[in-house]
Structure formats: structure tokens, C-alpha cells
């Protein structure tokens, strides 16, 4: 019995070994290297890179956090509305449309958003037609434009995850609430969202991580100052060949993401524990 289990464990370990190796080479090694380099200043270990990073990019760190938070909030709102709608109503057009950005590369999305949000771009044209207001600011080089671009690209992932979770919830839970006098809106709040909470958390964490680590979109949309950390990192390397500060900025992003992950994991543990016994 014991040996059987040991053998099984060994076999299981062998099965995941390739994945572990890839993870080690592609993820853990670069991570450790990046942390190491971020503390390396003129061949010696020290905090100089961080001092410099904070001195030069404090504003950008705050800006990055702000854009990321705003994106997460907008994505949450949009995905709630669309996932809820599609949970109850079968509207094929919307079902296809929301997925559209999934199949478009970020580079093209960035460019499309630039055109769409420009001062004489498509969005302003439509708004002018509808409202009659002609002097509208272009959003393409503003933080709001950047946030909207992120929201458009990242919402489909969130909707996909949340709608999947909503659809997995048995109809009887929904019908039981309607049966007792609840309306659809209350069913979403009282039944669907609480039961899909783990998936909603995953969707939001994913949105957060993808926003904070995106390079292409902030390069093409949004103001050039302040800008997002990945852009700063690129400049640090390309123009100054300054790997130390670039890696320090990278590690700062990591720390933010890890902080969020800890919160997420703690949430998952209490959630699981709460559901079990």
C-alpha cells in the first residue's frame, strides 16, 4: 500500500517534471536574476537603484497603480453587466462582439484605439453627431483613453471567465430566488455574484496583472508623461542601458502583484474553508 502510493507519487512527480523545468528556466531563474540585478550598483550590492527609481519614477508608480485600479474597476463593471445579461438572455450578436478583441493582437488594438479615440477620431465623430457638440478633446493621449483601451482589450477575458462561472450555476438556484419574489437584478446580487466570487476574483486579478505589465498599449495610447512602469523600464534599457533601475522598477511591479496575490490567496483559503465542513 505504502510503496504503491510512493510509486504513484514518484510517477506523478515525473509527469509534472517537464512543466516544472520550464517554469524554472523561464520564470524562476529570470526572477531571481532580476532581483539580483536590481540590487547591483557598480558591481556592488546596495539600494541605489531603488533610490533612483523612486526619485525618478515616483509619479509613474502612482500613475501605474491608478490606471491599473481604474481599469480593474471599469472591467469589473462592464463584465458584470455583460455576463449578467448573457446569463439570462441569449443575444448572439453581443456574444460574438464582446469576444472580438480576444482575436486581435495588442499592437493592432493599440493602433485601433488611437484612431478611435483621437480628437477627430471615430468616437468623437459619433458623439458630435449625437449631441451636436463639436469641440471635443481627443482622448487618445489622455489617461482616460489609456484606461478605455485597457478596458476594451481586457474585458473579454473577464467576461469569458465570469460568464462561464455564471452559466455553471444551476438554474434552480436562480429560480428559487425568483420563486420567492426576487427580481433578476437582485438575483444577480444575491445569488450569482456570491456563488461566482472565486471566478470573479480570478478575472480581476488577471485584469490587474495584465494591465500593470502591459507595454504595447501604453506605448501607443495615453500621455507620454506620466507613463506606465513597463514603458519606463524599456526606456531605461534602450536609452540609458541602465539594467539596474529597470530591474528595480520590475521588482516594484512584482511586489505590487505579489501583495495582491497574497490577498487573493488568503481570500481563497477562507472561502474554501468556509464552504467545506
Amino acid at each position: 500500500m505504502g510503496t504503491y502510493e510512493n510509486k504513484n507519487n514518484l510517477f506523478g512527480f515525473l509527469l509534472i517534471l517537464p512543466a516544472l523545468a520550464v517554469l524554472g528556466v523561464l520564470y524562476i531563474y529570470p526572477l531571481i536574476r532580476a532581483i539580483y540585478i536590481s540590487f547591483l550598483w557598480k558591481g556592488q550590492l546596495g539600494l541605489e537603484n531603488y533610490t533612483k527609481a523612486f526619485a525618478l519614477y515616483r509619479k509613474d508608480i502612482v500613475y501605474t497603480l491608478g490606471i491599473t485600479a481604474a481599469t480593474v474597476i471599469i472591467v469589473f463593471a462592464v463584465s458584470m453587466v455583460i455576463a449578467s445579461y448573457l446569463r439570462f438572455k441569449n443575444w448572439k450578436f453581443l456574444d460574438y462582439m464582446y469576444r472580438l478583441p480576444l482575436f486581435i493582437p495588442f499592437l493592432i488594438v493599440g493602433h485601433a484605439m488611437r484612431v478611435f479615440l483621437a480628437q477627430h477620431g471615430v468616437m468623437n465623430m459619433i458623439i458630435s453627431r449625437l449631441t451636436g457638440i463639436h469641440r471635443l478633446p481627443g482622448l487618445a493621449s489622455q489617461w482616460l483613453g489609456l484606461t478605455l483601451a485597457f478596458a476594451w482589450v481586457l474585458s473579454p477575458f473577464a467576461i469569458l471567465i465570469i460568464l462561464g462561472a455564471f452559466k455553471a450555476i444551476d438554474d434552480s438556484y436562480v429560480e428559487a430566488a425568483l420563486n420567492l419574489g426576487s427580481n433578476k437584478f437582485k438575483v444577480i446580487i444575491d445569488v450569482l455574484i456570491p456563488l461566482a466570487r472565486p471566478s470573479i476574483m480570478v478575472a480581476l486579478v488577471l485584469t490587474f496583472v495584465r494591465t500593470i505589465s502591459s507595454l504595447t498599449i501604453p506605448l501607443m495610447v495615453g500621455p507620454s508623461k506620466p507613463t506606465m512602469l513597463p514603458v519606463d523600464m524599456m526606456f531605461r534599457v534602450n536609452y540609458y542601458n541602465d539594467w539596474g533601475v529597470a530591474n528595480a522598477l520590475g521588482v516594484i511591479s512584482y511586489v505590487i502583484v505579489i501583495g495582491l496575490s497574497m490577498y487573493y490567496l488568503r481570500f481563497m483559503v477562507t472561502e474554501r474553508g468556509g464552504l467545506k465542513h
Partner: protein, 351 residues
């Protein structure tokens, strides 16, 4: 409490006729049981009355008012779901309180009503648990409590006992009946268990392929089944299909030496003789039992000990050697014994 009337309900899913012209009445304060095999449309009927099915045709009336197009949340008809559908993220208390909060009762009233219903169903002390921390029987009662605490006009029960152990099922059957009578709940009770339906109902409807085949009080359904399907579905039955014949314009069918007259509307090429395993008696071939109208002969070909009775398989002495019937009896015979099977006229149905 209220009366429910449905008129000509139809619901098709592609080629499947889930409801095919279903018309029925549930009188105020009574329990109508709908029985039928799985897939006969029982759940669809229930969900229609609750408002969850978009009907293809027909009307539903509650107290004379047309509610066909009233949304489910405005009907005040409580449904008990076959899988209970207790919300796993809410405590028992919050599950039961849900409908009360929507009805804008204040905190004290809600607490009072929940205390009342928990006491009524004998499940006090579970308020703070989550549904996953309860046994099947407890979950069943909480679901029932959640449905009745809002004082619905109609209670719809979808196979409320099907997920319980056989032993608990029998006891809860009595309790549901007592509860329904005490609260005078207008109730539609769906089950595939004919014994459960007959024992609990004021009226029984038999459903098959989306159609109501017969509706009546339990004795009527049991003693005067209207169709072969009803006769076969109710009770443990023998159904013997034989070719009949016509003599002087009257239809007959033979079973061994026994000659039975068939009703005029049967198809003589396919006559079905139906009787219940419990409503016949057997005796040794050379004996007679007084008080019985019919007799045919056979040989014991199988025997099961059932505890309080024996269950025999009897091969009938007929030109068709394959005819076997099931008979329950407390007399002790052995395999190979030659016996006579005795029946009463009103316990044999011919379709």
C-alpha cells in the same frame, strides 16, 4: 389559499411534447398528486404553474385570475425544487428569511415566522449552519420551510421525497400530509411513486407523454383505471397481451380454460388482461376457493420469500406456453406444484 385551474397547456421542445393539452383543477386546500414515469412532463407542468416555462398554448388561472403572463416573482406560488436548491453561501436562517425579507417584514416578524416554521417542521437549532453541513433529510425540511414560511397561495412540490432513504420517506409522507391539512395548503405534488401519490393525495392525475390520462380520487384511480397505461402504472401488475376473437358480435379472450368477455371497444388482435399480484389467490389444483368469480390453472415456476408473503411466478396452462404471471400469497407452495389461480370479476381489467 387558492384554487388553480389550467386549461389546455401545451409546451413542445422540438418533437418532444412535454405538455400536451393539460387541463386540471386544484381545489382550495387540497392536494393533487401528479404521477407519471420519468420524462412524462411533471416537472414542466410544475414549472409552468410557477411561471418558468414559456407556454406554447393554454392558460393558467389562480383564484379565477389569468396569471399566464404574470412573471414568477409576482405569483406568490412557492416551489419546492427536486434538488432543494438551497443557496450554499447562505446560512439556513438566511435561506428561510430570503422570501420574508422580499416581502418587507421587519426583523422581529421575520425572526418570529422563522421560529414558527422551524418548530413546525421540527428542525430548531440549525439556523446558523450552511446547507452543506446538513443531512439530506434536514436539507429537505429547510427547503420545505423556505417554501411555506412566506404563506404562498399554492405550494408546488417536485418529487420532495425522491432523494431520501426509503425509511425516512415513509415517515415524511405522513408529515407532509399532516402539514398540508393543518395549513390547508393548495398543493400540487409531483412524484413517480404511485403508492406515495395514492396514499397522500385528495386527487390523483396520471401523466404520460405530456398528457393527463386520468384524474380522480385515489380509490377511483386504483379500482377503475381508465386506460391500460393507468392500470399498469398503478399497483404491481400482470399485463397479459393475447389475441381475442369475436363470437356473435361479442369480443372474447381466453386465458387457459378461462373465457373472458372483452369490452366492445378493444382491438381483438391485441387484448390486454390486467390484474394485480396482490388481488388474486392461489390454491392446489384440486381445491376451490369460494367467493371468486374466475379461475385459470398454472404451475409454480418461481418462488421468492418476501418476509410477510411469498411471491410466485406462475406459468399459465395456456396454448401460449410463455405466459407467466406474478402472484403474491401467504400460502407455501413449491416449484413445480400445480395450482389454480382465482380472481374476482372487478379486479380484472381488459383493455
Amino acid at each position: 389559499m387558492a384554487t388553480v385551474v389550467t386549461k389546455g397547456l401545451k409546451k413542445f421542445y422540438g418533437d418532444v411534447h412535454a405538455l400536451d393539452d393539460v387541463s386540471l383543477d386544484i381545489e382550495e386546500g387540497t392536494l393533487l398528486a401528479v404521477i407519471g414515469p420519468s420524462g412524462s412532463g411533471k416537472t414542466t407542468l410544475l414549472r409552468s404553474i410557477a411561471g418558468f416555462v414559456k407556454l406554447d398554448a393554454g392558460k393558467i388561472y389562480l383564484d379565477g385570475e389569468d396569471i399566464t403572463h404574470v412573471p414568477p416573482e409576482k405569483r406568490n406560488i412557492s416551489m419546492f425544487f427536486q434538488n432543494y436548491a438551497l443557496w450554499p453561501h447562505m446560512t439556513v436562517y438566511n435561506n428561510i428569511a430570503y422570501g420574508l425579507r422580499l416581502r418587507k417584514y421587519n426583523k422581529n416578524e421575520i425572526a418570529e415566522k422563522i421560529r414558527w416554521v422551524l418548530q413546525l417542521l421540527d428542525i430548531e437549532g440549525l439556523e446558523d449552519r450552511k446547507p452543506s453541513q446538513l443531512s439530506g433529510g434536514q436539507q429537505q425540511r429547510i427547503a420545505l420551510a423556505r417554501a411555506i414560511v412566506v404563506e404562498p397561495k399554492v405550494l408546488l412540490l417536485d418529487e420532495p421525497l425522491s432523494n431520501l432513504d426509503a425509511k425516512i420517506r415513509l415517515r415524511i409522507r405522513f408529515e407532509i400530509k399532516a402539514l398540508q391539512q393543518k395549513l390547508r395548503l393548495t398543493t400540487l405534488y409531483v412524484t413517480h411513486d404511485q403508492e406515495e401519490a395514492l396514499s397522500i393525495a385528495d386527487k390523483v392525475a396520471i401523466m404520460h407523454n405530456g398528457k393527463i390520462l386520468q384524474i380522480g380520487d385515489p380509490q377511483e384511480i386504483y379500482t377503475k383505471p381508465a386506460t391500460l397505461f393507468v392500470a399498469d402504472f398503478v399497483g404491481t401488475n400482470n399485463v397479459i397481451e393475447k389475441k381475442g376473437y369475436v363470437r356473435d358480435g361479442v369480443k372474447f379472450v381466453n386465458l387457459g380454460k378461462l373465457v373472458l368477455q372483452a369490452p366492445p371497444n378493444v382491438d381483438v388482435n391485441k387484448v390486454n388482461i390486467v390484474f394485480r399480484a396482490d388481488e388474486v389467490e392461489i390454491e392446489r389444483r384440486n381445491e376451490e376457493i369460494p367467493g371468486y368469480d374466475y379461475r385459470f390453472d398454472g404451475t409454480i415456476s418461481g418462488k421468492l420469500y418476501m418476509g410477510f408473503k411469498f411471491r410466485y411466478e406462475v406459468t399459465v396452462d395456456d396454448e401460449n406456453k410463455d405466459i407467466k404471471v406474478i402472484v403474491n400469497s401467504d400460502k407455501d407452495f413449491s416449484i413445480g406444484d400445480k395450482i389454480g389461480v382465482f380472481l374476482k370479476k372487478d379486479k380484472v381489467f381488459i383493455f
